[in-house]
Amino acid sequence: MVKAEDNKGTAEGNGNGVIVVKNLTKRFGNNIVLDNITLSIEKGKTTVVIGPSGCGKTVLIKNFIVLLRPNSGEIYFKDKRIDNLPDRELNKVRTHYGFLFQGGALFDSFNVAENIMFPITQHSRITDWRQAEDIVNAKLAMVGLDGFQNYYPAKLSGGQRKRVALARAIALNPEVILYDEPTTGLDPIRADIINELILKLQRELGVTTVVVTHDMTSAYKIADRIIMLHNGKIIADGDAEHIRNHPHPQVQQFINGQASEDDLAVLRASSDIAKAQFLPRDFEE
């Protein structure tokens, strides 16, 4: 891809970037969710994306795998432009990725084992059932759910579902894993185990990792680099230390979990109304 290297987005072509995004804009109707974003995800590193709810984190990583197509801009996977590929070609590219959906997206007509088996039967050359089953069991053990093979998703708790989905995302040992809020809904101990799992995959297998999260503890623990999105733009980008000391007030508020005076003003103004609405309920007549 000679042409990609001429592009001004990144000075040294796509360099070390496994996923490179250039001038990406994504909007839904008039709602501009991502506004001209340029970004390079480095090979073998863990990049954490933070930002307030609804700022477009999920939309961003869905663009990485072209589950959503950008309105303008380019997306490269290993120097190959992918945002304009037809579905058939995209499917080949996608087998290099693991994607953990925010809501899990488990197949509810399959049990846990079958869910994790799905990518294996679809893409690996493993034909020996026993061997495939061993992989499933190993992945389930990694997320602490060995023994749940025959459960259906409906019978699992939210956190368990998330972990099964995680096991499914890593079933094929992908080179790139995109996690959408892997620790949301988990207890702190389990969250820490998942953090360790993410780190282990990255360190031992050199997996390029992108994690979307609100959980700053997790972000500080796993990140080589933290990116903060706000109003469709990247407002901070650097290692944990850089983010901690970032001067931007929005960044400080986010990492310290403090609402701004503006945000609170709305609540204060409405508190009188809220009191007024504490009315007798129907059954009290």
Partner: protein, 270 residues
């Protein structure tokens, strides 16, 4: 006003275009699937889900159609002293028109509704995106087995409906109204030939394909939430129903042309 109307027309046309593309892709992918034995278990699973439980309803539908026709037509024919011809009337109608159409409508409700609801729910819970994210084509994995199952099963179910329709007519005509048994069957055999049965069964392939493609498309493009799924199911049924009638009309015209071309030949040989 004009603007919204224009925008709606454009949106409708775009939707038609998307549907056309989807239909084309599913049909091409079906051809691809048939050539690969590894996809057969998926098709088989769908055939079980779609087919087995449809048999009783389809049989009941067929039986009632036959019986209703008998009750309705008997008096008129008897008035002209032609009641022995009742069998021809019932059996031709059942085998050529009512059996296939009513079976298809039944399936559009029963199978099409379930398909749209299932795929629609998968869509809103991101399961279809999940299939995609793992590098599998959801059309190939989800739509094609359903399409092939419907395509293969609708004609078979039509045969069931036909059989029960004929029996229902026989039950009312001969057993209830006491038409002479031998005469009933003699006229029936004379009036209904293989062609009539074949027409009905061939219609089934078209109806099944239409139901499956429409229902899958509506599921795949279903809007968010429980309401979205409900709406998709309604739209899928209405669209399937209209398509069945339109196809029935189109096929009737085509089959008539074919029959007229070959009939002279047949009579020469026969």
């Amino acid at each position: 006003m004009l603007e919204t109307l224009g925008a709606k027309t454009i949106e409708d046309l775009a939707d038609m275009g998307r549907f056309g593309r989807f239909a084309w892709r599913s049909i091409v992918a079906s051809g691809w699937s048939i050539a690969r034995v590894t996809t057969y278990p998926l098709i088989w699973a769908q055939m079980n889900i779609i087919g087995v439980h449809s048999v009783p309803v389809v049989m009941i539908t067929g039986a009632f159609v036959g019986m209703i026709l008998a009750v309705m037509a008997y008096d008129q024919l008897a008035g002209m002293g032609l009641e022995e011809h009742l069998g021809v009337l019932i059996n031709v109608s059942v085998v050529k028109e009512l059996g296939p159409v009513l079976t298809a409508v039944m399936l559009a409700g029963r199978v099409g509704g379930a398909l749209t609801a299932e795929l629609g729910t998968m869509n809103v819970t991101e399961q279809i995106d999940a299939v995609r994210s793992m590098g599998t084509d959801p059309v190939r994995y989800l739509a094609v087995p359903r399409l092939l199952a419907c395509l293969l099963l609708t004609p078979i179910l039509i045969i069931y409906a036909d059989l029960l329709g004929v029996l229902g007519g026989y039950f009312i005509g001969v057993i209830q109204f006491g038409i002479n048994n031998q005469a009933y069957w003699k006229f029936s055999a004379y009036g209904v030939d293989l062609w009539d049965v074949a027409v009905g069964v061939i219609k089934g392939f078209f109806f099944g394909t239409a139901i499956a493609i429409i229902s899958c498309y509506k599921g795949f493009t279903c809007k968010e939430g429980a309401e979205g799924v409900g709406q998709a199911c309604t739209e899928a049924f209405v669209a399937s129903f209209i398509s069945i009638l339109a196809l029935d009309f189109g096929l009737a015209v085509i089959f008539k042309a074919i029959y007229n071309t070959f009939w002279p030949l047949k009579s020469l040989v026969g």
